[in-house]
């Protein structure tokens, strides 16, 4: 009898533990540590003259839609183009949003923006410490997701020896860098936040933009 009582008690204890553990799992009453990264929303302005520029956003945008990106120039005559080898996607002031192939703006990429007059693109976003940009052999239209201007050798250190040419187009003026040639007056010396770039790559690779944030 005692045996039975003792066995019954043990059975109840086991059932209690099973029920308790199941309840804890199902209700999430467990002890765990979660860490949160707090990022400050930043504002950035890209001042542009009329005609074509190759631009990018240094941030991960709060609202990444193309409509939001062009909000500050929306009433103007504008065209936005991005090269996704081997084709292009476009958004344009003449068309409604549903007709745009270019629906979102990504900090990893560069974009041609044409304006019919001088204006400023205003954007809000957060800095990302590290951005990997996958590059394919040939031409790539990239952004520069960084909060600081850096020399080319530093900014492109992750792909040293794999890029053959770099172009920028800002306010209708081209500049370039060819690592094989001596310095020219039109040389790109630094990568600048807000600018976009054409980069020619000899083989598929990944460009890593590392950022140090000072609070």
């Amino acid at each position: 009898m005692v045996h039975h009582k003792s066995g019954y008690t043990i059975f109840l204890v086991i059932i209690f533990f099973i029920v308790s553990i199941t309840y804890a799992i199902n209700t999430g009453i467990t002890s765990e540590t979660r860490s949160f990264e707090v990022k400050e929303v930043q504002h950035f302005s890209i001042s542009l003259s009329g005609n074509w520029s190759l631009i990018s956003t240094p941030y991960k945008l709060i609202n990444s839609t193309t409509r939001s990106f062009v909000n500050s120039v929306y009433g103007m005559d504008w065209t936005l183009e991005h090269y996704v080898g081997p084709g292009w996607i476009t958004a344009d002031f003449n068309t409604s949003e549903v007709q745009w192939q270019l629906e979102n703006i990504d900090r990893r990429y560069g974009y041609y923006l044409r304006l019919n007059a001088s204006s400023t693109v205003e954007i809000d976003g957060v800095y990302i410490n590290k951005t990997n940009i996958s590059l394919k052999g040939g031409w790539n239209m990239i952004g520069y997701p960084s909060n600081s201007t850096k020399g080319i050798s530093t900014a492109l250190s992750s792909i040293t020896g794999k890029w053959t040419m770099l172009f920028a187009l800002y306010n209708n003026t081209w500049t370039m860098e060819d690592p094989k040639t001596p310095p020219f007056p039109w040389e790109i010396k630094n990568l600048t936040p807000g600018r976009g770039y054409w980069i020619n790559i000899s083989e598929d690779t990944t460009l890593i933009i590392n950022e140090t944030i000072t609070l």
Binding site: E81, Y83, G87, T90, T95, S96, M176, P185
Partner: protein, 151 residues
């Protein structure tokens, strides 16, 4: 020394007139884009209708779809040719762009064509008019054939 820079996307030209250097580089040319509406038999084309752009019977990677109830289609950006390569990757200025329409397994050619022009976005409203052919038949047996235009 004078530096001349041409800013049109796709063609970069640097010249130092003193004769020191000249660099000409062809980046992927800015595309020629088209937008508008597509009507079939006078009615807006149904959503899901696919439009493709062809130049000299070559299809470039530019398909787009009809997206709204009014038959409007997404911007169709047609690649340009890179003059630095022997291959033809797309259009050159003033090339004629033919629009082909695919709907429910059937294919049509739009009544309109476009003109390829780098860096522009042109409005072209497309229509499809069914082709009607008349064959006069005589009483009794007739040997007939139908001519089809390849698309």
């Amino acid at each position: 020394m004078k530096i001349i820079k041409f800013g049109k996307p796709g063609i970069v030209l640097f010249i130092i007139l003193a004769g020191i250097a000249m660099i000409v580089v062809a980046l992927p040319p800015s595309p020629s884009s088209f937008y508008g509406i597509l009507e079939i038999n006078g009615n807006p084309a149904p959503t899901g209708t696919v439009i493709s752009a062809w130049i000299n019977n070559t299809h470039y990677p530019t398909d787009t779809t009809v997206v709204a109830s009014d038959g409007s289609y997404k911007i169709l950006s047609v690649n340009g040719d890179d003059p630095d390569t022997p291959e033809i990757e797309g259009g050159r200025n003033v090339d004629i762009v033919v629009f082909k329409i695919s709907l429910g397994g059937r294919r049509f050619i739009a009544d309109q064509t476009g003109i390829w022009n780098s860096g522009t976005n042109q409005k072209i409203d497309l229509t499809i008019t069914p082709t009607q052919r008349t064959i006069t038949l005589k009483k009794g047996w007739n040997l007939i054939s139908l001519s089809l235009d390849p698309i």
